[in-house]
Amino acid sequence: MDRLARIWDSDVAWSFRHSPIAIVAAVVALGTIFAAVFAPWLAPYNPFDPASLNLMNGFTPPGTPNAVTGQAFVLGTDHQGRDILSTILYGARISLFVGFAAVIFAMVLGIALGLLAGWRGGWVDSLLMRIADVQLSFPSILIALLIFGVARGFIPAGMREQVAIWVLIVSIGLSDWVQYARVVRGATMVEKGREYVQAARVIGVHPVRIVLRHILPNVIGPVLVIATIGLALAIIAEATLSFLGVGVPPTQPSLGTLIRIGQQFLFSGEWWILVFPSVALLALALSVNLLGDWLRDALNPRLR
Amino acid sequence: MTEPPVLSVRDLIVEFPTRRGTLRALDRISFNIRKGEVLGMVGESGAGKSLTGAAIIGLLEPPGRIAGGEVHLRGDRIDSLSPEAMRKVRGRRIGMVFQDPLTSLNPLYTVAQQLVETIRTHDDVTEAAARARAIALLDRVGIPAAARRIDDYPHHFSGGMRQRVVIALALCAEPELVIADEPTTALDVSVQAQIIDLIKEICAERGASVLLITHDMGVIAETADRVAVLYAGRLAELGPVRDVITAAEHPYTQGLMGSIPTLTLESTRLVQIPGAMPRLNEIPTGCAFNPRCQQVFARCRTERPSPIERPGGRQVACWLLSETTAEEAHGGTALEGRGPLPAL
């Protein structure tokens, strides 16, 4: 209880309570994540169950009843008669899964390489940072596209469907580790020179232990801020790749896939197939991004 | 004494609004600086000495603000001026020397450009005349080959030389007051001695008064005429340097003087004041020093002492002195209960 009270009273919590944007963003983001995680229980239909599909329901406008059961399609249906609300919930699930997994992958890789470069310095540092520079000079979506393309070439055709999502995660993660590595490297170099690290070196603590127990906890703060904004970027990257048709397989549509499908029907009048998934993607990416912005400001004493 | 003091600070209050309430960083500080006088201001970190300087020149960092009191520069009130008017006062009437010379010098301009510009905003003289004056001034502050070095950029100078340039810059508009905030703290001992001597001499030469803010009592002893001791944002003691150092009256000042190791006295143990200065949100009621004071009594815990005027032009904010004075005078000239006395 005491601990909860202290958290409630902390500067970050206070800043949160006094930022309407952060509160709205948190509600939207957590709401979307909740709905996505519990999609199988919340969604009115299972869009991946062929048995529940009926082509007679194709292109149903929002609010129209199901031709078979009479239950209303709140957000309408697509060309195959899939409930848009349900596909969005299931799609957000995949988008979020890919986003989180890609960020965690990028973060672990970036932190590890950043700690290594910052601690060792010298040629290890130069090598890693030059690789980072080269990678930064290309748009990350191109890098992801490249890695994705190359990886697909190595995977036998039969397995592509199954591993596509993991390949996607690795592609997005590899395209995004640089910023984590740079921040961690810089912070590590600062912390390395601090006297508490020297105190540990004086008694001969093993370097690996110094890096993990002393330095890592002190450089992780800024990483979490980048990770929050990175999550929004990863979700958008996934949507972009899926929109281009190279992402997740069509049997597991993410929000990006849904938008790609929807845009075919925009000019024939079935606007809802495109608009609702797009709004969902926008709301998710924007709210996560705004949360990241708020967190950055809240943790930066200069802006307070 | 018909002439008003060069600087008069009256009941100055500086506050920092925070989400946990307003912190009072300076609480009713009053002092005067006479013409040509060097007033030292000492205190531990967080006592409010630098804040006093910043409040006088209108450079408080937000959200800090002056919440009460008045500041007069030779009779003109300057604490309520517009930022534009204050900037003029800073350029012409108050010169500033900070700890880090690089905060006062623009790295993108040569020393000549900076000096000439300041001289010309102050005096309507030609560029050539201003330059000649700048060279003379640099020469005076001890820059060798001033005529040649004047066209160098600040980073071409060593730390000590840079601080000399800053002193020249602070003095080139012939200000009435120079505020020097830890001017020698970043310098080595041997250079520090030179800078102290320079500030002292050159201000005396030009009749400028000095507010010298430092944590180093030794610097005060060598430079100042009078010294103000701050504790937790309040004035503890103010008086002539010799008196305060040799016969401090406030228990805090006594402890502070005893805790300073010196080159001449060989003591095995230093006097130590138990505890540490309270943070601004933890200042006790009554006298701010009472939890650490060896001579504390009931009144100190409830009522805050105001500076009491003592012989020799001293002021001491301590109830001990109030009672003794009252007893000695048989209640006739009891000082307690009267409002804050005017500063000297």
Binding site: Y196 | D188, G218, T262, P274, A276
Partner: protein, 340 residues
Amino acid sequence: MEEPLLKVEGLCRRFDISRPWLNRVLEGGERQFLTAVADVDIAINRGETFALVGESGSGKSTIARMIVGLLAPTSGQIIFDGTRLDGTDGSKMRALRKRFQMIFQDPFASLNPRWRVGDIIAEPIHRFGLLKGVAVSHRVGELLDTVGLSAGDADKFPHEFSGGQRQRIAIARALSSKPQFIVCDEPTSALDVSVQAQILNLMRDLQDEMGLTYLFISHDLSVVRHMATRIGVLYLGRLVETAESKTLFRSPDHPYTRMLLDAVPDLELSGRRRQQVDGEIPNPIDPPPGCAFHPRCPRVMDRCRIEVPKPVPTASGAAACFAVESVPSPALGGLAKVRS
């Protein structure tokens, strides 16, 4: 005479401050070296406080860092209780490391902000496997008590303490492996005077109780006067004078020591007219030839501009100065004379 606890012989350290290789190749320019420490000999006896004083660039912190093993010497040797520290490895080094410790300048940087005070103090105990289980927290409580804090403070984080209290915690950490020798690198220069007095008193008490030997690094001569039994004065990486504390302050031999003493602002309000202090410390990348102090020295001779003076014995130590060599007992009055 007893063997000194720590002996430093011919210690040198050069830093490579050249620009990166690629820039040198493209833009030209030689490799550049900065000699931070040159030919320093020190012997510190058991139970004494040996102080190293000097201004910026004198190499005092570099020497401290070499002694505790944070920095490798370019040449020279460090001998701790008869064992050379270079070339000693493994368990033998571990046993040696347990016996010396370091206290740092900035108590706001020397404690890991994410660790609890108890864990910080216990780190050396765990590292050397001195105690296990409940005994560790018991010992931490004891140490906190020794430095004037309470055992309950072990659960707090460093930011909950003031600067002086943090330095106490740092001292408790240094004591936790029961060392004999502690290198103190400007331990009070980040503290306010009243707190400095507390820490200096504490350090003296601990020395008396535990028979510690200190190497005390400082730029503040008044503090050194208060703490040291013997003093070494450094100028641009070289030891210019060593002497017993009392002798040094009464009659300094080296002109630089004398200048330093003259420069210290003092509470003594005698209005003493000090000898004018001239010049600034030269750039250590390009020090003057011969004796590095010669451009500022009032007793400079032709020889000083060419040759580097070797230390010559004085009343209670040694001084590296040709003027002292030629006139062993200087006619110039010391500090005491000027004052009286």
